[in-house]
């Protein structure tokens, strides 16, 4: 279990290549990567992510530990950035490894659903006409009920 929260970029390809390398018990790996989208042609939004140092790591540890009790995982990884991010930049990733694909998929979706609504990150988007905190979606909160 590897959890990292930092401002600097991470190398998604290198993380995917390294995750689970050399293990013989892994039959399935699922990764998710969240990326800053560009919006509104011609306007290049900037994103700033605020977080709660200390609680963030604690919350992610709890979510990952819960995933490991629910599914037979060989390994799991969460990386999340904070600070300023430009369109096209990778915000975060999760990776899960298991003997079978159903466990790897379910755990990755679970990690994402809980990370979205239970880990203390907040996104602020800036455009030419001002900046706004991204509103939480009711659908994200609702997604938790399926677990």
């Amino acid at each position: 279990m590897d959890i990292r929260v930092h401002a600097h970029p991470f190398d998604y390809g290198a993380e995917c290549a390294a995750f689970g390398a050399g293990r013989q018990d892994i039959g399935a790996i699922v990764t998710f990567c969240g990326i800053v989208r560009g919006q509104d042609q011609g306007q290049l939004p900037q994103m700033e992510i605020e977080h709660y140092p200390g609680m963030t790591e604690r919350a992610l540890q709890k979510i990952a530990a819960e995933a490991q009790t629910r599914w037979a995982l060989s390994d799991c990884l969460i990386i999340h950035r904070y600070g300023p991010l430009a369109p096209g930049e990778k915000i975060m990733m999760v990776a899960t490894a298991a003997a079978h694909r159903a466990d790897a998929f379910a755990a990755a979706e679970f990690l994402m659903d809980y990370l979205k609504s239970r880990a203390p990150f907040w996104k602020k988007e800036s455009r030419a006409d001002g900046s706004d905190w991204v509103a939480a979606k009711a659908s994200d909160e609702a997604a938790l009920t399926r677990w």
Partner: protein
């Protein structure tokens, strides 16, 4: 008791500071919020809709009716939007 209070995202902006130390005898989070709101208008405005806010006591998410006995750090913030 002495409590460290933290504010994040738009709550931090509305209150105008990221953290402060308060002396309080509040029994619950809700009592603490009432004390803060009584202090200044900007607190009352920021905390006017608790359904739009979340609270963590000692870095664990909890409810507004949670007791504060033994707590050292209370954080208020809007619903999270990570990922």
């Amino acid at each position: 008791m002495t409590l460290e209070i933290l504010y994040f995202a738009w709550l931090r902006e509305r209150i105008g500071l990221p953290r402060e130390t308060v002396q309080t005898n509040a029994a619950t989070v809700a009592d603490l919020v009432a004390e803060l709101c009584a202090r200044e208008e900007r607190y009352a405005l920021a905390f006017s809709d608790l359904s739009a806010l979340r609270v963590a006591v000692d870095q664990d998410l909890t409810e507004f009716d949670a007791p504060l006995a033994g707590a050292r750090e209370v954080a208020f913030f809007p619903p999270m939007t990570g990922g």
